[in-house]
Amino acid sequence: MNRRFEGTERYVATDDLMMAVNAAVTLARPLLVKGEPGTGKTQLAEEVAAALGKPLHRWHIKSTTKAQHGLYEYDAVSRLRDSQLGEEKVHDIRNYIVKGRLWQAFESDEQSVLLIDEIDKADIEFPNDLLLELDRMEFYVHETREFIKARQRPIVVITSNNEKELPDAFLRRCFFHFIRFPDPDTMMRIVAVHYPELKRELLSEALNAFYRLRDVPGLKKKPSTSELLDWLKLLLAEDVPPEALRTDDPRKSLPPLYGALLKNEQDVHLFEQLIFLQRRQQSRS
C-alpha cells in the first residue's frame, strides 16, 4: 500500500486535492490538474514525488510536441550519416531509437512520477494519441518490433491551462482536480510555509492589500499565489513596514512594489484611476 499524500513542508494541500491525488495514486490512473496560472499545478507533481519518495520524470509540452516524442524517436538522419560513413553500428536499428519520457518512466525499476506539463499547449489530437499508452501503460516499437510494458504503473500528473479542450475519451480515463484560488485562510498557511519568519502584522496587511487588488473588477490578469509570494519576498527584502500597506492612506496610490503583482500596464492604469476616483469621493464628503 502506498503512503498517502498529505502535502509537504513546502506545499499546502487542501483536503480535496489530497483526495484526488490519493485516488489517482491508489488506482494508478492519471490525474488531470487544472487551475489559474500560478496556483502550483506543476509544483504539485514535484511535491507528490518528494512526499512519496519517488523519482520524477518531467515532460514539458510545447505546441510542436507530438505524442510519439514521449514514447521514442527514430533518429533517421544519424543513421543515414553513419551509413555513409560506414559505421558498424548502423546495422542495429536499436542504436538510433531515442527513448522518450514515457518510456523512461515505464522502464524505471521503482514506481515513478511522470509529469506531463501543459498538455493543452500541444495539438488538439495530442491527448488522443496517448490514450492507449496512458490507459494500458504499454506501447509497441515498430522499428525493433519490441513491446514495451510498464514495470510499475507510474503516477501520471497532467496539467492544463485550459487553452484547448481535452477529448472526452481522454478525460474519462483521468481523475480530475481543479485547483481553486486559495481562500485567505489557506493563503495564510501557504505563506507561512514559505516565509515562516514573516511578521503577522505585515502578513495580514499584505494579504488584505492582495485580496483587495484581486477584487478590483476588470483586471486583465489577476495576481496569483506565485505573484503574492514574489511580492512578499520583495517586501521582506526592502523591509517595508506594515503601515505602508494600508491603502486607506489617501497619499499613497498603489501598494509599494506593485510591479510584482500587476503585470499589465492597462491594469496599473485602471487601478490608478480607481484610486483617483475614490480619493475624489473622499475629499468631497
Binding site: D16, M19, A23, T26, L27, A76, L166, R172, F175, F178
Partner: protein
C-alpha cells in the same frame, strides 16, 4: 444507490460514462475515501467530473440526491430536542417575535412550515446558499433563528453550517458565463483548425529524409498538402446606443479575432446594416463603405459574423426609412438578405442573454434573417457559432 446517483448526474447534464462510474466504485472498494461524507464528495467529484464548468451542476445534483441521507443523519426538526429549541427561542427572540410564533400555531407548526419551506426552496435552489431570509416577511429571517443551524446544528452534531457542495463556489465557472479574450481566442482557434486543409502539394523535408533512410539511402521524395490558412472572416459590429453595456465583451471578441485570423475584414454599423457601413468610428460620416461594394469585393467563401444585440424597433429592420440615423431607401432586411445570400456561412452573435431573446421582437426577426443562426456571446454560444460556420 450509487447507480441512482449516476443517473441523477446524467440527468443534471454532466457527461458521466460507465468508465467513470466504475472508477468511482473501484476507488471506494480500494478505500480511498474514509467514512465521511466530505471525503466521498471529493472523491466522487474527482472521479466523475472532468471539467470545472460542471462543478456547480455536480454540487447541485449531489445536494439534491444526498438530501435524504443528510436528513437521516442530521434529522430535520424531529431529532432536535424541542426543549433546546424553546430555550434558544427564549434567548434569541423578542416578546413580539414570540407572539408571532404563537400566532403561526406554535413551535410545532413553525417547525413544520420550516421543513416544508426548506424542501421547497432546496428543490428550486435559486440564488446562493441563503435558502431562507426573504426580508421581514418570513418568520425564518429573524436574527438568531438560523434555519440552517436548526437543520444540522442540533447539539454536539455536525457544526458546519453550510456544506462544501452547498457553498456553490464554482457557480461562475458554468459555461454560460461571459468570456475573456483568452477564452474567445481558444474558441476561435477551433475555426483555425479546419483552415489548414488544402489540396496543394509541397515538399516535405522531414518525411523525405526519414523515408530515404528507411529506404537504405535511396532517395524517396515525400509531399504533403500545403498548409494554408484559408479562413477568411468578415466581421460586422454594432456600435453605440444599446450596445454600450456590451462594449467590453465586443472589444475582447474583436481583439481575439484580430490575432486569430489573418484574413479579417471588419465593419461597423448602428443597430442594423443598411446600404453602407464604416470602418473608422471617428470618420463614420465622411468615409463610409457601400454595402454593395462589400458584396462585390469579397468572394463568397468569406465567413460573416454579425455582432449586435439586435434590440431595436422592428421598423428599423422591416421598413424603408426605418433607420434612426438617416433615410434608407431599402429596408435593413433587404440588405441583410443580400449579405446572407452572398455569404452562405454566416452567424449572428448576440451579447444579450439567450433566455431574454424571445421578449424582443426585433431579435426574433433578426434570427429569421440569419436562418436561426444566432448565438449568445458566451463560451458555449461561440462554440456553437463556430460549428455553424464550419458546416
Amino acid at each position: 444507490m450509487l447507480t441512482r446517483f449516476f443517473f441523477a448526474l446524467r440527468e443534471a447534464g454532466i457527461p458521466v460514462s460507465l468508465t467513470e462510474h466504475l472508477t468511482l466504485l473501484e476507488a471506494l472498494e480500494a478505500r480511498v475515501a474514509s467514512g465521511s461524507v466530505d471525503d466521498f464528495y471529493w472523491l466522487a467529484r474527482a472521479a466523475m467530473v472532468k471539467d470545472e464548468k460542471h462543478f456547480d451542476r455536480f454540487d447541485r445534483a449531489f445536494a439534491a440526491h444526498f438530501n435524504g441521507i443528510e436528513n437521516a443523519l442530521a434529522g430535520l426538526g424531529r431529532e432536535i430536542p424541542a426543549d433546546w429549541l424553546r430555550k434558544l427561542i427564549e434567548r434569541e427572540f423578542t416578546d413580539e417575535e414570540k407572539a408571532r410564533i404563537e400566532a403561526m400555531g406554535g413551535l410545532e407548526q413553525l417547525l413544520k412550515t420550516l421543513e416544508e419551506r426548506l424542501n421547497e426552496q432546496r428543490g428550486r435552489h435559486e440564488g446562493g446558499n441563503k435558502w431562507i431570509g426573504t426580508g421581514g416577511t418570513s418568520p425564518f429571517g429573524h436574527g438568531g433563528f438560523n434555519p440552517e443551524g436548526i437543520r444540522i446544528g442540533g447539539q454536539g452534531g455536525q457544526r458546519r453550517a453550510v456544506k462544501v457542495w452547498e457553498r456553490r463556489d464554482y457557480r461562475n465557472l458554468d459555461d454560460t458565463v461571459q468570456l475573456g479574450t483568452r477564452n474567445i481566442k481558444v474558441a476561435l482557434r477551433k475555426l483555425r483548425r479546419f483552415a489548414r486543409e488544402g489540396a496543394a502539394e509541397e515538399f516535405d523535408l522531414d518525411d523525405t529524409i526519414s523515408s530515404t533512410a528507411r529506404n537504405a539511402g535511396l532517395l524517396d521524395l515525400k509531399f504533403v498538402p500545403e498548409r494554408h490558412n484559408a479562413v477568411k472572416v468578415l466581421l460586422f459590429l454594432d456600435v453605440g446606443g444599446s450596445m454600450e453595456p456590451h462594449v467590453r465583451v465586443c472589444e475582447e471578441l474583436f481583439s481575439a479575432a484580430r490575432s486569430e485570423f489573418k484574413h479579417l475584414r471588419y465593419y461597423y454599423f448602428h443597430n442594423f446594416v443598411y446600404e453602407s457601413v464604416w470602418q473608422d468610428g471617428r470618420r463614420r460620416h465622411a468615409e463610409r463603405t457601400p454595402t454593395l461594394e462589400i458584396l462585390r469585393t469579397y468572394p463568397p467563401d468569406y465567413r460573416v459574423i454579425f455582432v449586435g444585440d439586435a434590440s431595436m424597433s422592428p421598423y428599423e429592420i422591416m421598413q424603408p426609412g426605418g433607420s434612426i440615423e438617416h433615410w434608407n431607401d431599402e429596408a435593413g432586411a433587404v440588405w441583410m438578405s443580400r449579405i446572407t445570400q452572398r455569404f452562405q456561412r454566416h452567424v449572428w452573435l448576440n451579447p444579450e442573454p439567450e433566455d431574454r431573446w424571445e421578449y424582443t421582437a426585433s431579435i426574433g426577426i433578426a434570427r429569421q434573417l440569419v436562418a436561426e443562426r444566432m448565438f449568445p456571446l458566451t463560451i458555449d454560444g461561440l462554440d456553437r457559432a463556430i460549428r455553424a460556420l464550419k458546416a
